[in-house]
């Protein structure tokens, strides 16, 4: 059991999805069950020479312009101009996902507004596109004028600034920046704030936009797949993988303290039974060769949850489809689970979505919660020839028709940041 005094437990009671594989819970669930990917052809900067040919695109939104006047989103979301004016493109995704998650949790915006026990923790990298646009203008006019919304719409933190103001969040608001582990950090610290008794409810928001400014710098690092066939481009743990596929979107989780949630009759996806983090101390961008930090993070998450490796039925891997990262994670999983005689199903849903960077941890936590409540286990549909490093891992290709009782969700970010969550079927 958790080492936190007070015995408070944390539940996932609402989900909102704006993702490459669907913009609502039912579509996301259907895509995960069918192994249907959300990758589509893309071309950036009008240049067919750029070797980035597919991405996990967000459908039914148009946020490519640097002017928010020209953005469009599905008609069911009412986004007032005075909120829109300070937002980045990924803020629009997040706004819609918050609305969806609140409704899914049986809450109205008025229920969380000015409620000192509701907080909001966000994760995004900011908007490189708007930052570039603002700074280009600044240089063009030699610093004489600038967009008054330039700061709040573009710097890391834009999500928390705008959403907390719009939804009148008074419990606490903060942002997390640890690259691809950001949203996982947000979930972990939200869980702790609730277990410490400081907040009763936290809206965890992850979001990223998909455009040249966000994605192409990763091509410069040689981190992106150059494939044009979506099924070949994102194939975590396959011997032929050649890099990750970028993605955008937003996922929101409503986390609530268990007695508080029960008192209002909330329906439950799963318990956040614990989490853990550890660092590699090894490289600015590459994983430790044997996933040393990830192994420590997994052990800490399991200890926090009071579980053994054998209790875990499913691992939602970080698995971005890069040669080095997938191998390190496979070694970490083999080392921990095989030694304990455990063989959980392992899959990376990034095969279907691509890799949404800061958003990844929240998106995959949402997928895990959905799988636990609806009773399925996502597979690895793009996996054909598993890497030899994965030889002893159970990597189902097809979705399994049974739901896991306990899940491990891994995320790793630049600088060797590793964050893991353990979700457990809720048993009051």
């Amino acid at each position: 059991m958790s080492s936190f005094p007070g015995g408070r437990r944390v539940l996932i009671t609402g989900l909102g999805f704006i993702t490459p594989i669907g913009n609502d819970r039912a579509t996301v669930s259907a895509s995960l069950r069918a192994g249907k990917h959300g990758l589509a052809p893309v071309q950036f900067l009008g240049n067919p020479q750029i070797p980035v040919r597919v991405a996990g695109t967000v459908k039914d939104f148009s946020v490519d312009s640097t002017s928010c006047r020209e953005w469009a989103w599905p008609a069911q979301y009412e986004l007032p101009r005075e909120t829109l004016r300070g937002m980045a493109p990924h803020g629009v995704y997040a706004f819609c996902a918050v609305q969806q998650a609140l409704a899914d949790a049986g809450l109205k915006p008025v229920d969380v507004a000015n409620d000192d026990e509701t907080g909001m923790f966000c994760a995004s990298a900011g908007s490189a596109m708007l930052m570039h646009n603002n700074l280009a203008l600044m240089h063009a006019v030699r610093g004489e004028r600038g967009n008054p919304m330039g700061v709040v719409s573009s710097i890391a933190g834009t999500l928390n600034f705008n959403l907390a103001a719009h939804f009148h969040i008074t419990g606490a608001v903060c942002g997390f920046v640890s690259a691809c582990a950001s949203a996982s950090h947000a979930i972990g610290y939200a869980c702790d704030e609730i277990r410490l008794g400081r907040l009763k409810r936290v809206l965890v928001v992850g979001a990223e936009e998909l455009n040249a400014e966000t994605l192409l710098p990763f091509a410069a690092m040689r981190a992106l797949s150059q494939q044009s066939d979506p099924t070949l481009a994102s194939r975590p743990f396959d011997a032929g993988r050649d890099g990750f596929v970028g993605a955008g979107g937003s996922v929101v989780l409503v986390l609530e303290e268990a007695t508080f949630a029960a008192a209002r009759g909330a329906s439950v996806y799963s318990e956040v039974a614990g989490w853990g983090q550890a660092a590699d101390g090894y490289s600015v961008a590459m994983s430790h060769p044997t996933g040393a930090g990830l192994q420590r993070a997994i052990n800490r998450a399991l200890t926090d949850a009071g579980l053994d490796p054998k209790d875990i039925d499913y691992v939602n891997a970080h698995g971005t489809s890069t040669p080095v990262g997938d191998r390190a994670e496979a070694i970490a999983l083999k080392t921990l689970f095989n030694a304990a005689g455990a063989r959980p199903a392992v899959s990376s849903t990034k095969g279907l979505t691509g890799h949404p960077l800061s958003l990844a941890g929240a998106m995959e936590a949402g997928f895990c919660a959905l799988a636990m409540r609806e009773g399925f286990t996502p597979g690895n549909p793009h996996l054909v020839n598993p890497d030899e490093a994965c030889a002893d891992l159970f990597l189902p290709r097809e979705t399994l028709a049974t739901g896991p009782a306990a899940v491990l969700n891994n995320s790793s970010g630049f600088g060797g940041s590793n964050v893991c969550h353990v979700f457990k079927r809720w048993a009051p």
């Binding site: 002017s67 004028r145 008054p148």
Partner: protein, 123 residues
């Protein structure tokens, strides 16, 4: 007097009603002050916080106060000023704005700025 140094069909007005875009063109080519007033009115409507006023089709009058009557906050004022700076290639100081409270005062202020900038082509 014309303001032919200003660009034709600026992107900032691309989504504005055709009357506003026509008025801009009339002002640009003939210096028609009434036409400029229409452009400013369209921008005021555009930046007006809709939440405070409910409907955006309320009739706007020159004596209406931006903050008290139209629900402008200081960010909306800053946005409107930036819009005019960018559209008319002028620079507006914070101190100059202190005397602007109503729509009519804003119209007069922008006209004055444009007249000044027209006399100093390098501005």
């Amino acid at each position: 007097m014309s303001f032919a140094n200003l660009p034709a069909s600026p992107s900032q007005l691309a989504r504005y009603p055709v009357e506003a875009r026509d008025a801009y063109e009339r002002f640009r080519t003939t210096g028609d002050v009434e036409a400029l007033s229409l452009v400013i009115l369209a921008a005021v409507r555009d930046f007006m916080p809709k939440r405070n006023l409910g409907a955006s089709n309320v009739e706007l009058r020159g004596d209406m106060k931006l903050m008290e009557d139209l629900g402008y906050d200081s960010l909306a004022v800053a946005e409107t000023v930036f819009f005019f700076e960018d559209l008319f290639k002028v620079r507006i100081q914070n101190t100059e704005l202190l005397s602007v409270h109503t729509i009519g005062e804003l119209q007069k202020f922008v006209m004055q700025k444009l007249a000044e900038s027209n006399n100093t082509p390098s501005a």
